[in-house]
Symmetry: none
Subunit: 244 residues, 4 copies
Amino acid sequence: MDVHLHELTPVLSEADAQAAQQQLQQRQQRQLAMSDTRRALVLDAARSVFAEKGVGGASIREIARRASYTPGAIYSYFDSKEAIYAALLAESLERLNQEVAAARPPKVQPHLTLSAKAQAWFGFYARNPRDLDLGFYLVQGLAPRGLTSELNQPLNARLHDALRPCEQAMQAMGLSPEAALRENTALFAHGVGLLLLQHTGRIRMFGQSAELLFQAYVDQLVDRLSPGERAPVPAPDQPDLFGR
Amino acid sequence: MDVHLHELTPVLSEADAQAAQQQLQQRQQRQLAMSDTRRALVLDAARSVFAEKGVGGASIREIARRASYTPGAIYSYFDSKEAIYAALLAESLERLNQEVAAARPPKVQPHLTLSAKAQAWFGFYARNPRDLDLGFYLVQGLAPRGLTSELNQPLNARLHDALRPCEQAMQAMGLSPEAALRENTALFAHGVGLLLLQHTGRIRMFGQSAELLFQAYVDQLVDRLSPGERAPVPAPDQPDLFGR
Amino acid sequence: MDVHLHELTPVLSEADAQAAQQQLQQRQQRQLAMSDTRRALVLDAARSVFAEKGVGGASIREIARRASYTPGAIYSYFDSKEAIYAALLAESLERLNQEVAAARPPKVQPHLTLSAKAQAWFGFYARNPRDLDLGFYLVQGLAPRGLTSELNQPLNARLHDALRPCEQAMQAMGLSPEAALRENTALFAHGVGLLLLQHTGRIRMFGQSAELLFQAYVDQLVDRLSPGERAPVPAPDQPDLFGR
Amino acid sequence: MDVHLHELTPVLSEADAQAAQQQLQQRQQRQLAMSDTRRALVLDAARSVFAEKGVGGASIREIARRASYTPGAIYSYFDSKEAIYAALLAESLERLNQEVAAARPPKVQPHLTLSAKAQAWFGFYARNPRDLDLGFYLVQGLAPRGLTSELNQPLNARLHDALRPCEQAMQAMGLSPEAALRENTALFAHGVGLLLLQHTGRIRMFGQSAELLFQAYVDQLVDRLSPGERAPVPAPDQPDLFGR
DNA sequence: TATGAATGAGAGTTCATTCAT
DNA sequence: CATGAATGAACTCTCATTCAT
């Protein structure tokens, strides 16, 4: 961009011009690198704040403090708080993709690949829960870790009450209490996951319907627990949901 | 108001005392009832605010405004904002339980019960997403719907990238592209649901491990897609995961 | 508004109720008065800040400081900075109206009234220039009093250059240098005043056109300086501009 | 770049010295010209910002952005924001002078010249209101166009109230309602213009007194509306105000 | 000359909470 | 029980200006 300016000073010889341009490029590269470094520094600070205080507790001030900057200086690197968030999320997704790409099954067989890849993304988020926060804008709004456990316990119990009928039904279908508990937990997780996807608009990215998928999960669960019990006629609008 | 009580103290017959106590009890009951009524009024206001503006957008001021109270008055009924949140959640769970209790299958058969009850709690949260917010402290922190879609789109794409290998593996196992997409969505939802349960401490309420449950889901998925492929030897630490 | 609450406690006798209501009213009145007092206090602080630092230099923080308040407390009395400004302006206009109303000519003759009333509003703004600031949102943007006089002087001279031709023309029409200067000053003021009215939208409040009014002023000026010179045919779209 | 100079210092013939000096001068001139060009570039940017966002909305950052400079670079050409403002104003005044100089009456008669020149400067500011802003430091402080019209309307009405007595007096002197309105608008504009001149120190440039000039305007107005009514004895300290 | 980084002050506004009355 | 007032800390973001390079 600055080349034009140099062209205006015709005193410089060809060689001089080349040298100057080279020098300029070097300097620019150096500065670019430094800029990136400092941007990364801010991003690191941001990540540490997000990690400690969650998405909701992260403030520009705090991020600046950790990066040894004044709040205003942050805006040299990011246009807004949201931009920081986006950069953090982008970088999180890169790490996720790296881990998934690195996961390779012992033998190249589809079912082993499926298992390995699934474990990869799941493991990533299991080990780095804040990245899940980032991905779903999960803000621990009120108490540092949800509610005070004093308040939390009876509420948890009441939630369990709502889910118990399913568990009992599964026991009635022949599952052991332990197995029923596990299946019920899985069932709840499945539903909640679908709801979260729907709620955050992520489900649109799959073009799917949470309701239909849940129905399918339940049908398949019933089928698995007591084969032959399920109505043999599949719903007409989802004929091949698990077909091949 | 207390004047009467003071006048009663000096001379006090047995009958008077009884009458007074009765009167006092009545008044206390009345006041208690009124207190409850007004508490409910505040709670109603809070619910409407939460419903409109979400967990993040709800402020004591706004709640007070809708309840025709001053902010300070709220603290007569609730110790803190968190307490309101807890009360709201409690009440949300009651409604959830009511709906689940009301759900009855056409015939009393375990698998129909399971289906009906599962659909009940799922439907409740699907219809009332704010109650899910309450249950999991889900706050849309930054932009009204996550990030600006401008920023959001490439990030969404990148997330999809991380999940695609599973989808491709499922196609390699013989699934149609549509079926693979659906199964992949379900797989992602399942994992995310487990992670959310773990992340918010809800999984402890089931005494389960997210990792093991996810492993089980994947194993079962593989089994369903290509029977016979799975190693016949179950992991020793979860021998009866789906046993009866 | 709280009356309903009292109606719910039927223990109170008629007399008690009256007394209580009276007491309540008194308290409310007292509080209202105090509230007004404090609001006035804030307004006083605001006025003093505006007076010292101008419209542009007034900040909520500074106003709060002078009123011995925290910045947040200001918002108990005013919704925004703009609201303070509006209140200040409203009050300024009241004072203006008072002064105009109080101005009475020695004898009740229309031309004396005109003179007295005009002098009244003019004098008000001449004595209280900040009220003019308020009325026209005049902000001293850069330096405390316009530009540094070092910079200002040559600029002033150059402005004068632009106006000198008029002055010379008036001298050519027979005015003494002093008279020409005065008339030129008046001419400039008239034009600037019209422009300011137009610029700030105040002219719409009169439903007038700045251009036409300026033209009329110039015509009348020419007529006054050299009677008979002006074209005898008035513009058809403003036939009675100075007619009676 | 300075290398050549160092090499020149040891041995230096007369001719060499002359050539070098000439070369130096040329380079300096060239640089000076370039400097001026770039200064003008910055000024252009500043003008466009001022034109779009007004005096209040112009920031060094924005000016630099439009000039494709960094904010710091601006300080190579101007010492401060105020200096930019001054340069802009200077240039504005040049344009004003050009327009006034270019304005020529059809025939060279003093009263036509007066009219043409007056229309010239008035027209310039009417067409370029931002130049008026520059000239009088007019900043729209709070809302983009003064106050929210919701707040503005009653305030406008109240201002009108203060001016109405004059209007009524003029009607009492025989003016039609329309004529009275126009005269009143002109009267208000005249006063406001004088006040603005006084307020911004511009009146000193004329060595005039706003009060006296206003008095004179009112007197002349009265005289025009009802000849003979005015006291025949002119104030002794302004004997020849309108004399020839 | 020009950059890029950074400062430090400050802007208006919101918040949960406290407390005397 | 409820009010109205007030606190104090926090919020994101903008600004003119400086300075080493």
